[in-house]
Amino acid sequence: MKTPLITGLGTVSPNGLGTEAYWAAALRGESGIGPITRFEPDGYPGRTGGEVKDFNPKEHLPSRLLPQTDHMTRLALVAAEEALADAGIDPEELPDFAMGVVTAASAGGMEFGQREMEALWSKGGAYVSSYQAFAWFYPVNTGQISIRHGLRGASSAVVTEQAGGLDAVAKARRHIRQGTPQMLAGGVDSALCPWGWLCMSRSGRVSAVENPSRAYVPFDIEASGYVPGEGGALLVLEDVEAAVRRGVDKPYGAVAGYASTFDPRPGTGQEPGLRRALEMALEEARITAADVDVVYADACGVPELDRLEAEVLAGVFGPRGVPVTAPKTMTGRLLAGGASLDLATALLSLRDQVVPPTVNISRPAHGELIDLVAGEPREARLTNALVLARGYGGFNSAMVVRREA
């Protein structure tokens, strides 16, 4: 089976707007996590988050799009534009159905939706924006990107919480195999409003620790849950022949393998699905554990889930058998955008042959199981990178990206 190439990246992240700004910050170990400023978090469990700073939508988007878009859609549109430009693709020059969009979402435009609900209850229906019709809707990023860039090929949205950032790319890969030469795929997400915050914190997994450098420390003995953030990445996937025809000579890499599994029903005592997803992804990539050069961990930050992941990694790769990193310790977990940003990060690490660090780890909890790249970036020969993602509710996904010589 053909393995599609990744030929363009667009990212927005709490520690950098745009791919190169983000990547430089990640290598410096610079965190974007801080106190929540978007709304007053008093009275909610958890007051620390990863906000995209200094983002003025008017500087990035035409005014026609502003009244009709949630914050997360604005971020997604910026990432989409960057990814297309990075790939050197001008959609206007493509045939009508040559390119599609698949995005991942968690809950849609929560902030927009909350504002309109407030208008409804405080002032009445006449004050609710007509754009509520779609601005809150979870496939809205796919729709807005498709309309803005005229991408009318196979398009959809997937909703699998944090696993979605990989699942969207996998679905785009399927469309490429079915004959759509180019796809834009990934997730950019945000729900940093009281309603979104409440939905996230009800899982019991959001850290209540206020110190930004201690709130999200996966694989550390102080792990206390995770910090929600906003942002993500969109990637241009391309059929190999189409890329060759365009004269692409330096793709970021190839999507070599992928698998997703679903956890067994709670209480059955059966093994969770993470290991199966990992092993099936390696199998599809036709590589063994020894061929994997770096793992981007899901790194949930919930102690028992961290232990489970560390045990899976030690089981497959051997104790401390492969470098493991979680640069999301600098951004927080980005809902449906997180795994896409990890994937983009993995591709950048293949390009530059360096693994970005996991930050703020002071006392590793599973040092005997995993070799965590903590504190400083690590140079290494990297050919295959594995990205793991778990979505709340039982989703597990694993994707292997391979450097193309």
Binding site: P62, R64, P67, Q68, A126, Y127, S129
Partner: protein, 85 residues
């Protein structure tokens, strides 16, 4: 009540639906249809509902016509305003 003219209409259009980069709303737009001004039906719907709310009037759904012009919409608005007084 102050008269609702083209300036007021442009203000509401900008706030409720934004402004197309390739179109100027500054010139003589009275007889240019809304579609050519860069507005689709939902944009016009949002704009008309906004005006109805602010002026306390009700317009017919026919007022939301992307092939219509600002002049025609202003006529409808002013007709409805006179009736509601």
């Amino acid at each position: 009540m102050a008269a609702f003219g083209v300036k007021e209409l442009v203000d509401v259009l900008r706030e409720s639906a934004g402004e197309d980069e390739d179109v100027s709303l500054e010139g003589d737009i009275l007889d240019v249809d809304f579609e050519s001004l860069g507005y689709d039906s939902l944009a016009l719907f949002n704009t008309v509902r906004w005006i109805e709310r602010d002026l306390g009037i009700t317009l017919s759904d026919e007022a939301i016509d992307v092939e219509g012009t600002p002049r025609a919409l202003l006529d409808e608005i002013n007709k409805a305003s006179t009736q509601s007084v």
